[in-house]
């Protein structure tokens, strides 16, 4: 049964990937266009972009992390997901429109234009490390799901998951990711809502009263706080605030998230994509956390010892075989989508920010050459990502800790966009905050101000804001904000164009 479901779940993804690839090939042959591997020709409709924005940040952190975390922090775990709504607002309102207008593809490139070549170098290093480490975490998520259901070792399960993850993006790049994500987003919702119904039926068949029995379990066990929006004071202090800030302020600095928005047809369509991506991502959190909490209240699932393994138990034992296959397929799809998009994004940074500016042989590439190098780096990232995947601890906490390194970059980016660009302020702020984050991680100093637990983001926010603003204000060499300079240059460009075309403007 487990093997059947696992193989079915993997085939579910392979079949969708191959069907989409065949459609893309037929369409490309008919239209006779050369494929843009990185940005899909920047001609993707808003609903496919919305699905990719939603699914790129919905991966192992949700499937394995939230189900496990839900046992400790209950309903309040949703703040991890609600923070993604803030991310999408910032992405679609402040980031993607300006990247499109400025014809910039990567975040390090933008940071380099703001704060100079040295900052570009440290930003590229940070982004490659961040993207690659997240690919490793996603691989770990794949291994947990596959190894949890079969007799495969975690290493073997990682390799199987990694191969399908590469397939998700390797064949046709961004276009494939966008359309596979759209199909998967729809199927994920249908399948997972059905699982919630079957959980209710299962509990009723066991002599209970559906979800009421699950709610009653937490109340009778003295864990009523797990059913409240902010949890207990302890949960609010050690999980909700830190996690919300970490996610809301740092996920914007994910190249994968940005790159998922850039292929949109035009800037106005980002508005619709934003409204669709917010509920598409967040409401899935409700489903997955509910499943995790149900696993705690149902003895068979609880006996597995964790929310993530408990949810696998529920998928296998409360659903008919066809639904078990679909739910495992949907879980794998969620993780695979992040794996694929982050591999593509990290490969894009390597090609655009290292190969193109620093190597003469690859300075000017055709789309075909660019696709070759991006594919090459995707393979390298996936192989090395799988290799280290098994040495990473708890996914949810590891993700939350890792992304805090991006908060100083986000704060400096906002200062550089909206106010002034100071290379000195950027470099000092980012390096100081990163060193502080390491010190807090390996010492007990955070407890001195009662901010132990997953609260690194609070320190990062406070120190990067303070240092970033003060150092930028006192730096006499600081340039005006990049938006101010862009708009001045654009106005001059439009004025000249208007004169040369006899007063006729764009279009």
């Amino acid at each position: 049964m487990s093997w059947l479901v696992t193989i079915g779940g993997l085939l579910y993804n392979v079949v969708i990937i191959l069907i989409v690839y065949a459609c893309i090939k037929v369409s490309a042959k008919r239209k006779g266009v050369s494929e843009d591997f990185i940005l899909s020709g920047r001609n993707v409709p808003w609903y496919a972009v919305a699905a990719t924005i939603a699914l790129t940040s919905l991966g192992g952190g949700h499937i394995n992390g939230l189900t496990a975390q839900g046992w400790n922090t209950g309903v309040a775990t949703i703040w991890f997901c609600l923070a993604h709504g803030v991310v999408f607002i910032i992405l679609c309102r402040f980031m993607a429109p300006w990247f499109i207008r400025m014809r910039i593809v990567t975040i390090p490139d933008m940071l380099g234009k703001m704060f100079g070549p040295f900052f570009l170098a440290i930003a590229v290093g940070c982004f490659v490390a961040a993207g690659w480490s997240t690919v490793s975490l996603e691989t770990q998520g794949l291994a947990v799901v596959v190894a949890g259901m079969t007799h495969l070792t975690p290493t073997q399960a990682s390799i199987v998951g990694g191969i399908i993850g590469v397939l998700y993006v390797f064949l046709a790049g961004m276009k494939e990711v966008q359309w596979v994500n759209l199909i998967n987003a729809i199927l994920m919702y249908v399948v997972c809502i059905l699982v919630l119904v079957f959980i209710s039926v299962y509990v009723t068949n066991q002599g209970g009263a559906g979800w009421k029995t699950i709610n009653d379990y937490f109340i009778t066990e003295g864990q009523r706080n797990l059913l409240t929006a902010f949890g207990s004071g302890e949960i609010l202090r050690t999980y909700v605030i830190g996690t919300f800030l970490a996610m809301a302020l740092s996920m914007n600095m994910s190249q994968g998230n940005l790159q998922s928005a850039l292929p949109i047809k035009n800037i106005n369509q980002l508005n619709k994509a934003c409204y669709a991506a917010i509920p598409a991502n967040i409401m899935f959190g409700v489903i997955i956390i509910s499943m995790g909490m149900a696993a705690k209240a149902i003895p068979g699932a609880a006996a597995t010892g964790g929310g993530n393994t408990g949810v696998i138990w529920l998928a296998m034992n409360v659903c008919p075989a066809w639904l078990s296959i679909c739910v495992i397929g949907a879980f794998l799809a969620a993780i695979l989508s992040s794996f694929a998009m982050l591999s593509l994004a990290t490969a894009t940074v390597l090609v655009k920010d290292i190969q193109t500016p620093f190597f003469t042989k690859t300075r000017s590439m055709t789309l075909k050459q660019e696709a070759f190098w991006v594919r090459f780096w995707i393979i390298v990232i996936a192989v090395t990502g799988v290799w280290v995947a098994l040495g990473v601890p708890n996914i949810n906490l590891a993700m939350t800790w890792r992304v805090t390194f991006e908060i100083p970059l986000f704060i400096m980016m906002m200062i550089g966009l909206l106010w002034k660009c100071s290379s000195m302020a950027g470099i000092v702020t980012v390096l100081f905050c990163w060193i502080l984050n390491c010190v807090l991680t390996f010492t007990g100093w955070a407890a001195l101000v009662h901010l132990e637990g997953n609260n690194y983001s609070i320190f990062m926010l406070v120190f990067s804001l303070l240092l970033g603003v003060i150092l930028t204000a006192i730096d006499k060499k600081a340039k005006p904000g990049i938006l101010k300079r862009f708009r001045a240059q654009k106005m001059e460009f439009d004025r000249r164009r208007s004169i040369s075309t006899g007063g006729v403007t764009a279009k």
Partner: protein
């Protein structure tokens, strides 16, 4: 702390309300952010303008 959210419907309703608030914030920001007439043009249709970082 906070409102009681029974599984799964109370939880879904609470989350949907916060989602709506976030969409409302997104709508306000969209109204107040910078726009130009080229926002409705596709990337290929936009007049080629290269930002000079000086």
């Amino acid at each position: 702390m906070g409102p009681f959210c029974s599984l799964p419907w109370g939880f879904a309703i609470f989350t949907a309300i916060v989602c709506l608030i976030e969409c409302l914030v997104a709508a306000i920001l969209w109204k107040t952010m910078y726009h130009d007439e080229e926002d409705s043009l596709s990337f290929d249709e936009r007049p080629y303008f290269e930002f000079k970082n000086d």
